[in-house]
Subunit: 335 residues, 2 copies
Amino acid sequence: MRLGELGEFKLIDRIKQQAGLNPDVIRGIGDDAAELKIPAGHHLLTSTDLLIEEVHFRFAWTDGERLGRKAVAVNLSDLAAMGATPRFLYLGLSCPADSELERVEGLLRGVLAECERFGVSLVGGDTCCSPGPWILSVVVEGSAPDGRSVGRNGGRPDDLLMVSGTLGDSALGLSLLQKGKVVPPLLLQRHLAPTPRVALGQALASAGLASAMIDISDGLAADLGHLLRAGRLDAELDLASLPLSTEFAGQYRSNPSLIDLALHGGEDYELLFSVAEDAAPTVERLAAELAVPVSRIGRLKAGSGAIDLREADGQLHPVTADGFDHFASRVGDQP
Amino acid sequence: MRLGELGEFKLIDRIKQQAGLNPDVIRGIGDDAAELKIPAGHHLLTSTDLLIEEVHFRFAWTDGERLGRKAVAVNLSDLAAMGATPRFLYLGLSCPADSELERVEGLLRGVLAECERFGVSLVGGDTCCSPGPWILSVVVEGSAPDGRSVGRNGGRPDDLLMVSGTLGDSALGLSLLQKGKVVPPLLLQRHLAPTPRVALGQALASAGLASAMIDISDGLAADLGHLLRAGRLDAELDLASLPLSTEFAGQYRSNPSLIDLALHGGEDYELLFSVAEDAAPTVERLAAELAVPVSRIGRLKAGSGAIDLREADGQLHPVTADGFDHFASRVGDQP
């Protein structure tokens, strides 16, 4: 069955039926706007992302359900980086009228499954026809107690830099997909089905442990650059301390240039954060309780955004903070 | 200059510089999420819209600045229909890398001008390259005191139906554009630069005057149908009472079939609401103070979503509540 045969209003009814109940949702899907309760003493935190076919995803590599999960996950990752509790989600969906209904329903299953996993309610959105690519617009709203969120700008000289999980897996997975090579399952999963570090972000924020925090979506160096410029800091990273998965490390041994993917590859969706040195053991205990690996990868100092990497020779080498520029990177490709 | 030459991060910096300050914005553009204060005792109200080139707009008929204004206005209209105060806005923008920078900057000027007009702060968004059409994703957040918002579902039998402004102008303007005919300035303005009825919606809600309310985006009959089904009601409309602009009425006299545009044409962005009969004079006084015309166009009765229109012959004729279905209407056009 094609989406056009079902029609827009029946699609919205189907979404509404599946969206579940939440006492904080005063009005959900089916009015001009959603009406929601935010806990007293909390601030509202909101993030939004656009995901566009052939820019952010390809159906040759993913399916509706995994795409739906990832669309939610990358947005939750932004709230995780503030230490916020995610609460409400909106899905804007534009796809061709002749889209397979099964793909649309798979997408909804994925969106709702990822929402349920993190206690988030789907409360609104928009649906319309697309003249070409599939387009997803995801908005997530959450909250944090007044004064308890963590921004990019709070890092202090001498703070340790820490990162969750491992680096470069997603970019290596994507690179293997692009080359048509066999992709080890972990790398594929890290690219197509990332896990937002929601519990870790909340725990670091509510205990006041992280001085600055950002999620790694544009690559370690680029996102570290944002954190450094926001806090007027430089950073020194230690190459030997960068956390690599077994799968990544295996390929890296035979191809040392892959370190560029750990430094500059996008879509890790790990948390990069700074902590006072004497708080680091507390952070490590807390992360162990949450079963999330964390690593000390460097240190902050006063400065203006520069990153130096201590390499195997013991010397410091500058690292550029270049990230993925959506417009610049495409200029040469455009007709 | 092309957008690709400026690059994504410089574009975001430009947006950030122009976005202004607001004490309720704890963190705005430039962090992983915006952090905002919602007034104590208020609920959060949120609406989101996708606008896609060749589906919702054409640059042959509009320009960046007018598009930016309209993108904000149609979202504010949704909050107006709840009686909420709009506060914060997010702009997702995806366009080809070879887009003229002047068009992008015009769009931002329009977005910021419309935000300023309604006291709304631009606090976040997303930017990325599009493989084809321009894509805008707009999110607006506002608030209303607990218990003071107006939904679609509160209408009562015997309530009067009222509507702001005039009907069908936008659809007639679009129809003339599509036929390549001369478009009277008012009809063009009503299509390209609609005014959201924010003050009227807030006034009706805060005074507890409207029992149900919706904005007319899909056409009077379709949006009335939503209000009726939500409240288990029928409606009787009076043809002679439907408010028409001088420009619309002039064309209607020589072409009576144009009444279909007043009943079914989209994008009026007027408020349709129900009020107890004895409250109607108060509504009319209040609307006059706000310089917004309002008209009594019919009455509610118990039922299940049916609409009857009393025509010139004094007889009641059924009106279908069909609105624009984004997917169904396109099936035949797809390759």
